[in-house]
């Protein structure tokens, strides 16, 4: 089990995270819901160990920056924004992560972008760029995948196909765990094995349960708080 | 037979020294005097001074003022006379100056900076008449070629410059205003001290110094009479026409110095004091005569 615990976090003197714990079972997917601006991205950054300046970790354990017990897992992170290298084509961007061209092309085909391998990121649409970023994340084979709203800006059918892809490659993978941030309850209910809801900023876990013990309406009510 | 020792002389490629040394080399006067002359051309006087300071040259040509200043700062330079030429004071065409008070408010160009000898002598002479030229005239320090040009385009009334730049202007019909010899005599410096000379480090083998000095004297003696030798040097001189060519030869010949006499050395010491007194803040130091080379 991966257990993450932080006593609190402030960015530029503003407290963004309260004390909170997140547990992810190996091989399972944990969904994270929460209002916009509640601190989900900040939490994921902290989990991924991205050093941010002006961070003040609060409470114990803040010194050694070891928020994970027992050990920090190997992490793959799909950022909220695509973050492609604008000066490299789609293919070059992906080859930096996975040198095997075959593998890359196969995955690109799954997201229906096989015709755009030689395009620069500025010349594809936002939804396409998101799919490229998804592919890049799926090329990694980490213990724990963090995904920050991967399927926004996609039309319904495409989003559904992507969801199937993620389910196949990550959720159904026996040893790969995932923390999945989304605003879409259907997505959460479909992909997740468990779910947490964050309260407003500074974020804390206001609800945590297995997915089969919660209904859509309950979640909706929680989000409205 | 051991090879002759090298003597490295750094010279300005376009300067008068180069003419002399080329002739020396051509006539093998260096070999006859027991050394092998190596000429390193550079583009500026500064370069030559750097060369001797950094130990890359055995001889350069500069004035003794500079040599003495270096000696005061811990160097140990010696001085062999090269030329008595001090510089020229050239007046603009059509100007009439009879005494120093006529110079008031005039535009005066000075080559090389405030230590230009001609300018210093002028100031000293004017000071005797109670006129402070530095305050009374519009001074323009600049590089000599620029000043020659300014003179030609009528932007100067008077010019104190180096003699070979003056010679060119004279060849173009400009006239020398003052004979600096007269000015010096007026200041009590009657012995025609050579201003320019070969500077060398006194740790150099005295035999080499003597040999080199002899070679230069022989060269000068030949150049003083031999016109064919000059024809050979003409490409170096960059003389645009015969007037300038002959002007340059005459200038060179007029500058040939004698061996240094005690009187000249005394005059140099006095001259140094005059210059020092003209400074806004005189240092009060004295010229050390050890600088000057005396025949043993």
């Amino acid at each position: 089990m991966f257990e993450f615990h932080v006593e609190g976090l402030a960015l530029s003197q503003k407290q963004v995270l309260s004390a909170l714990s997140i547990r992810v079972q190996p091989g399972e997917t944990h969904c994270l819901l929460g209002p916009s601006g509640s601190g989900k991205t900040t939490l994921l950054n902290l989990m991924a160990g991205l050093a941010q300046e002006n961070v003040e970790a609060l409470g114990n354990g803040a010194k050694d920056k070891n928020y994970w017990s027992p050990n920090p897992p190997e992490i793959g992170y799909l950022f909220q924004q695509p973050r492609l290298l604008p000066w490299r084509t789609i293919m070059q961007n992906l080859l930096l992560v996975e040198p095997d061209k075959e593998v890359v092309l196969n995955l690109l085909e799954e997201v229906k972008l096989q015709d755009y391998v030689d395009y620069y990121p500025a010349k594809i649409s936002l939804g396409m760029a998101r799919r490229v970023a998804l592919v890049r994340c799926l090329l990694l084979k980490p213990e724990l995948v963090l995904m920050d709203e991967p399927l926004t800006s996609l039309d319904l059918p495409t989003a559904r196909e992507m969801r199937v892809l993620i389910k196949r490659l990550v959720c159904d993978h026996p040893t790969r765990s995932m923390l999945y941030v989304t605003h879409d309850l259907d997505e959460a209910l479909e992909l997740g094995d468990s779910v947490s809801v964050l309260g407003n900023v500074p974020a804390q876990v206001i609800y945590n349960s297995r997915i089969d013990e919660v209904s859509r309406n309950e979640l909706e009510a929680l989000l409205k708080h | 037979q051991t090879p002759l020792p090298n003597v490295r002389v750094t010279v300005i490629a376009s300067g008068t020294v180069n003419w002399e040394l080329q002739h020396m080399k051509h006539m093998h006067l260096d070999q006859e005097n027991g050394f092998n002359l190596v000429i390193n051309p550079v583009a500026s006087l500064s370069a030559a001074r750097i060369a001797i300071t950094s130990g890359n040259a055995d001889f350069i040509v500069s004035d003794w003022l500079w040599g003495s200043e270096r000696n005061m700062k811990g160097a140990n330079l010696g001085f062999l006379p090269f030329s008595r030429q001090i510089g020229s004071i050239i007046a603009a065409k059509g100007s009439t100056f009879s005494n120093f008070s006529d110079l008031k408010g005039k535009r005066v160009g000075i080559a090389g900076g405030p230590l230009n000898k001609g300018w210093v002598l002028l100031r000293a002479a004017a000071k005797k008449e109670g006129i402070d030229l530095e305050k009374e005239v519009q001074i323009q320090f600049a590089a000599p070629p620029l000043l020659n040009q300014a003179m030609r385009s009528g932007r100067l009334d008077l010019l104190a410059t180096f003699w070979h730049y003056g010679a060119r202007l004279e060849a173009e019909g400009y006239s020398k205003l003052y004979s600096l010899d007269d000015v010096m005599k007026g200041l009590g410096l009657g012995s025609e001290i050579p201003m320019l000379g070969y500077l060398y480090d006194q740790s150099l083998d005295p035999a080499l110094v003597r040999g080199f000095y002899n070679a230069t004297k022989q060269t000068k003696a030949q150049l003083a009479v031999d016109n064919d030798a000059w024809d050979r040097l003409r490409p170096l001189m960059k003389a645009e026409n015969d007037d300038i060519y002959h002007g340059l030869i005459a200038g060179y010949r007029a500058g040939i110095p004698s061996d240094l006499s005690q009187e000249q050395i005394d005059d140099a010491v006095n001259f140094y004091k005059i210059i020092d007194d003209l400074k806004p803040y005189p240092s009060g130091t004295q010229l050390n005569p050890a600088l000057f080379y005396r025949e043993p």
Binding site: - | G74, L115, Q140
Partner: protein
Amino acid sequence: MKTGRLSDQFVAFFCLLGGWWLVASFVASPLLPAPLEVFEALSKEFHEQRLIESLLVTLQRVVISFVFAMLLGGIIGVLMGRFRLVNRILDPLLIILLNIPALVIIILLYIWFGLVEVAAVAAVIINKLPNVAVTLREGGRMFDHELEEMSVMYGFSFQQKLWHLWWPQLFPYIMIATRSGLALIWKIVLVVELLGRSDGVGFQLHLAFQSFDVATILAYSLAFISVVQLIEWFILQPLDRRASRWQKGGSNV
């Protein structure tokens, strides 16, 4: 924080001074004067009333040339960066101006206009201008296309674009042009003064140089460097900090 920053620099400064002093006392040659000798030379020049006067004269030339070179060079550079046609037409001229030796420009201007102040300052401006243009051209090239479109759609006025859109994007390039510009201009002013002016630091340096008076040379250099260091501390670095506030790593909210 602020004091920490300054004191850091002071420590670095004194380390440098110490190093220099050590080397100088080890070499013990007048050609490498110790700090003390340089300060003596400095105070001598100061008491003989040359230091401040020369510095002021030179600074005046530096400031005038700087302002003109930055303005003209900046406008030309940004236009070249934005418009390909302007770039293609002016590029050869830029290369020529950039690479023509300072000496040549100075001589030509002195010849044509005489040994006057205007010629001197013009020579410096012409020398520096292409550098500014080359720097700001890259700035103009890197303008953010999306923000540009935004500013059009949201009806920004020219002033608004200038101040809120272009200036912040040009800022790093302007800082480059300013820092290396000040240095370059001051160096060219030295040459200009050396060749045809009768006052200013360049003239004094030339005098000191003629007698190889390294202490005085260093004294004048240090005097000017101190001025630049003050500009750095009280104008450029605060600007730098203000301009980086918005960045991810910035220190204010």
